[in-house]
């Protein structure tokens, strides 16, 4: 009973974090057809932005969430201008493959710069809200886990409302589903691209702050989140927002269940086996569809 409860709690927390990181990759892939390999360093930079804010200024920790979001939004915009925009519309360039490599290059550069400034040592980061709450005599949740789930779900709901209710979201969806029709109806696609990459990075930055107390702040802190997000988006079917949400919680559940009932070291290998099986059965992922049905 306690193990089941623990698995459920862990699924919600981990799934929400995965969704927050992976949804950005889905947005960028849906609108730009770029598998954004810089999403992992956005998680790491978010953590460093928050760490620096707290250490240098002593501002309350919730402000560091906003700082991290702003810093990573700007870094996402910078990634667009440096790694993606120069490739758009170039004749004879395999855009998807080249952008995959250039965003990977950005990730490596950002990681090296952070390493140069802060060094390789893992830096501790306090939970946003210390303490824990007991559910039963054996199972307790840290307040920080509750904040993780709440902030992540809040950000996802906000994103959903932005995409479905705002005119800007309408433009993003239109570009993702039918680029030519969207442009012919007067949407400047590049304005949509740059904001999409900024939002995607900011979501990862927020995730980075939330993950920092669990995994520390260090230059490679984005590697594991990138790997997990890649598994989620491939499992979901590239470009599907709804599929990404489902896939995040399924993957979150699987890794929680394996870790609790078996061994935490087996969680990642088991995920690879699952993703392999899914791709053999459904090459487009669980919700993958042709281009016009994306987002």
């Amino acid at each position: 009973m306690n193990a089941i409860l623990q698995t459920l709690v862990s699924t919600v927390v981990q799934g929400s974090m995965l969704a927050l990181i992976a949804i950005g990759m889905t947005l960028v892939y849906g609108t730009l057809r770029v598998l954004n390999m810089a999403q992992g360093v956005m998680v790491m930079v978010g953590g460093f932005a928050a760490y620096t804010t707290v250490v240098r200024t002593g501002l309350p920790t919730w402000i560091c969430l906003i700082v991290a979001a702003v810093v990573t939004f700007l870094l996402g915009v910078l990634t667009y201008y440096s790694a993606v925009k120069p490739l758009l519309g170039r004749v004879g360039v395999d855009f998807e493959m080249t952008a995959f490599i250039t965003t990977f290059a950005i990730a490596t550069i950002v990681q090296s710069v952070v390493l140069l400034i802060y060094g390789p040592r893992q830096k501790p980061f306090d939970p946003l809200w210390p303490g824990r709450i007991d559910i039963t005599s054996d199972v307790s949740i840290t307040y920080h886990s509750l904040i993780m789930a709440a902030v992540a779900i809040g950000a996802l709901v906000g994103l959903g409302l932005f995409l479905s209710r705002s005119r800007y979201g309408l433009a993003i969806t239109a570009v993702a589903q039918n680029l030519d029709a969207a442009r012919l109806m007067g949407i400047p696609a590049r304005r949509v691209y740059v904001v999409t990459m900024g939002i995607a990075a900011a979501l990862a930055g927020i995730a980075g702050v939330l993950l920092a107390p669990l995994y520390f702040v260090y230059p490679n802190a984005g590697d594991l989140p990138l790997l997990q997000a890649l598994i989620v988006v491939i499992f979901a079917g590239l470009g599907s927002v709804r599929g990404t949400i489902y896939a995040s919680y399924i993957i979150g559940f699987l890794s929680a269940a394996v870790a609790i009932y078996w061994k935490s070291a087996y969680a990642l290998p088991v995920l690879y086996v699952v993703i392999l099986l899914v791709l053999v059965v459904r090459p487009n992922g669980i919700a993958g569809k042709p281009q016009e049905a994306r987002l």
Partner: protein, 261 residues
């Protein structure tokens, strides 16, 4: 939109338009004028370069050579959205809508972003834009389906939705790529009535069409293309008498309607 009184003047001028894909010239030196307020029909065998010509004019693909002027301004190097903001709208041969959005949201895209202006101003929700989108839906006869999802709709509804979205951008000129293709005879009649109403609003229409009955009835002038070149340009009345058009495109019984879209 304020219509400048220029009826009868060329609204669109195309000179020596060429589009080459490697060694293949899909459009090979086409000249034509479209006069303000007229309906200009384009026909020709498959692979004649009609859709490529549309793609070049609307900026989807760049011209290899040639000049295109719209309302006196060159547009051959303008961006796709810039061409839309200048006053050109277009529909596609295959029904092309935003599948996961409602019918109203589809039209709203055109109404919201079709006029240009500053980008951040254009992303604000405005009640008059929503009202205009609804008006265009009523205009094409989809007023009752505003809340339905666009993806699962039948072909005729999608074609009308594309026209509503294009009209919502408030164009001076509307390009229609085979609007009658795949429609039943009664739907063809209905769409002809709709396009006549569009024309009555003072919007210049350019349409590609294989359904000769519709092309002949709607067009003031026609351009027949073959292998990227102009085969014939003139009144729809004369086209049926042109021996070369009959031989290349219409076939022996050129006086009979050809409804093989």
């Amino acid at each position: 939109m304020v219509q400048v009184a220029t009826a009868g003047q060329p609204l669109l001028r195309a000179r020596g338009v060429v589009k080459r894909y490697g060694g293949l010239a899909a459009v090979d030196g086409v000249d034509f004028d479209v006069l303000d307020g007229e309906t200009f029909g384009i026909a020709g065998p498959n692979g004649a370069g009609k859709t490529t010509l549309f793609d070049v004019v609307t900026g989807i693909v760049g011209a290899t050579a040639g000049e295109i002027e719209f309302a006196g301004k060159p547009i051959q190097n303008a961006s796709v959205h810039g061409i839309c903001h200048a006053g050109i709208a277009r529909t596609f041969q295959l029904p092309s809508v935003f599948d996961s959005q409602t019918v109203l949201a589809n039209v709203l895209v055109g109404a919201q972003y079709g006029q240009g202006g500053s980008w951040f101003g254009s992303t604000r929700a405005k009640p008059e834009v929503l009202a205009r989108a609804k008006d265009e839906l009523v205009f094409v006869g989809l007023g009752a389906r505003a809340g339905a999802l666009a993806g699962p709709m039948p072909v005729f509804d999608k074609k009308r939705l594309m026209i509503a979205s294009a009209l919502a951008t408030q164009p001076r000129m509307l390009f229609l790529d085979e609007p009658f293709g795949g429609l039943s005879p009664s739907e063809v009649d209905e769409l002809m009535v709709l396009l006549t109403k569009v024309k009555a609003r003072g919007i210049t229409i350019v349409l590609i069409e294989h359904v000769m009955r519709a092309l002949m009835a709607l067009s003031d002038r026609v351009l027949i293309m073959n292998q990227g070149k102009t085969l014939f340009q003139g009144s729809p009345h004369d086209v049926l008498r042109d021996a070369e058009v009959v031989r290349v495109y219409l076939g022996k019984r050129g006086d009979k309607d050809k409804d093989d879209a």
